[in-house]
């Protein structure tokens, strides 16, 4: 395998005294889509937050494009080309839809994603661009959050449970856009509770269980039984 874009090695994570991750290791190659699945509380969001710099990590536990970024503050990680679509979308209520997208492009990194292209990807956002972000429906907010992350022209896109709380048809609509994202050369990590969608979108899968990697492999190679066993820990 060519050198990984993102290499996480033996990552540990703590919330105060509570340990959430016990030596997790994953790899993501350029333009690859990787899914991280697992039950609630397995540590999936914690993993993404650690990569994004919202949680402290040991310096050499996370390497991006060969550079150790563990423990860097979130704004420094973002500057290096990692964009997180946070759990719950995290749109800014004081900003309009368009302003949310614009602030995603705050860093000014040039690339395929411009305001126009994001509106092409999600036309409904273009129609509602001047509205406050709070006026959007759940699905539209998710699109906006995704668009905002894309505006940073990241090399790595981290998606934290983008299907959460959305109707299946909306989830399908959003996932249908992901190949377009990968086509621009962006790698994606999909943290999901919706196993079916995640497996369909990703080439490789990691399954977390209580803070550890219980299973990993190519999506097409894993059987349902193996996944269920890893997911539930039976």
């Amino acid at each position: 395998m060519p050198e990984a874009l993102l290499a996480v090695r033996n990552l540990e994570a703590f919330y105060g005294d509570f340990q959430a991750l016990f030596g997790v290791s994953i790899e993501v190659a350029r333009a690859e889509a990787v899914a991280v699945i697992g039950a609630n509380g397995a540590g999936k969001s914690t993993l993404l937050k650690s990569i994004a710099g919202l949680l402290r990590a040991r310096r050499d536990a996370i390497a991006f494009a060969g550079e150790p970024i563990g423990g860097m503050p979130a704004y420094a990680v973002a500057a290096r080309g990692i964009a997180l679509v946070p759990e719950g979308r995290g749109l800014f209520p004081s900003l309009s839809v368009e302003e949310n997208l614009l602030i995603g492009g705050q860093l000014g990194r040039l690339g395929a994603w411009t305001l126009r292209r994001v509106y092409e990807l999600f036309p409904v956002l273009g129609q509602r661009r001047k509205l406050p972000s709070t006026a959007l429906s759940g699905g539209q907010q998710q699109m906006a959050a995704l668009g905002r992350a894309l505006m940073a022209n990241p090399q790595l896109l981290l998606c934290d449970e983008i299907s959460l709380g959305l109707a299946p048809i909306v989830v399908r609509e959003i996932y249908a856009r992901l190949p377009g994202v990968r086509a621009e050369g962006t790698a994606i990590v999909l943290v999901e509770q919706d196993v079916v969608q995640a497996l369909a979108a990703a080439s490789r899968v990691y399954c977390l269980q209580e803070g550890r990697v219980a299973l990993s492999g190519a999506a097409k190679d894993l059987t349902r039984e193996a996944i269920a066993a890893a997911y539930f820990g039976v």
């Binding site: 995290g90 209520p93 614009l102 602030i103």
Partner: protein
Amino acid sequence: MEWINVILQGVLVGGLYAMFAAGLSLIFGVMRLVNIAHGDLIVLAAYVALVATQTFGIGPLTALIIVVPVMAIIGYALQWFVLNRTLGEDLLPPLLVTFGLSVIIQNGLLTAFTADNVKLQAGGIEVATIRLAEGLYVGVLPLLQFAVAVAVIAGLQFIFYRTAIGRAFRATADDPAVAQLMGLDNRRVFALAMAASLAVVAIAGVFLAVRANFDPSQGPARLIFGFEAVIIGGLGSLWGTLAGGLILGVAQAVGAHLDPGWQILAGHVAFLIVLAARPQGLFAKVHT
């Protein structure tokens, strides 16, 4: 006619109060911090202007070129090295640190300049008046001051709602963690906001210095006027802050007209009435 004059004077001084308030409103909006030393910083700016005019032999309005950058730099440094460390869930640290700062500034100025009253001379413009109507005169300086106040508020409004840095201010105020995900360093954003706030303070300080005598102990009163203007106008709205300043100015003018000893008390009473009747302020922006 007499009452129109009173109200007019109140409106004009209200512009100055709005300027006191604008800086307070800005940093509360961005980082939920109330700077108790705010008034003392206005007085500090006045003294900086004093030093500038004496050292370079320039007029007070020209001195703005020096005072504004100086105060902005002080603001940036203050936020970066001291106040950023106090931000968090607990409201005691920033309150107590800015309180300590207030004491330090007041006594520092006292040591450096003594308690004597001083005033900046602006020359002929101080006594020039414009005749609006029969028996209705308005001073050029107060009018200029009012115009500058409106311009400052309009300028802040523009920065907040039409520039990238304004977006950064609003986003960081909404959600500091997610703002970081956009590549925004909270510490820098807050420091810039404080710098902007003190730039406004600088303008307010210079106008204060020209308008009347000042001395090191006047800080707390300016803080209170600014604060009252913000509360009367309503949190979260810069134009509301302007309105609040005007209302406060008029209340004080009316009070002073009835009895000179009631001037400040009248302002406090107006504040308390708004607090009792409409605590969110008259023009508060309703936030989700």
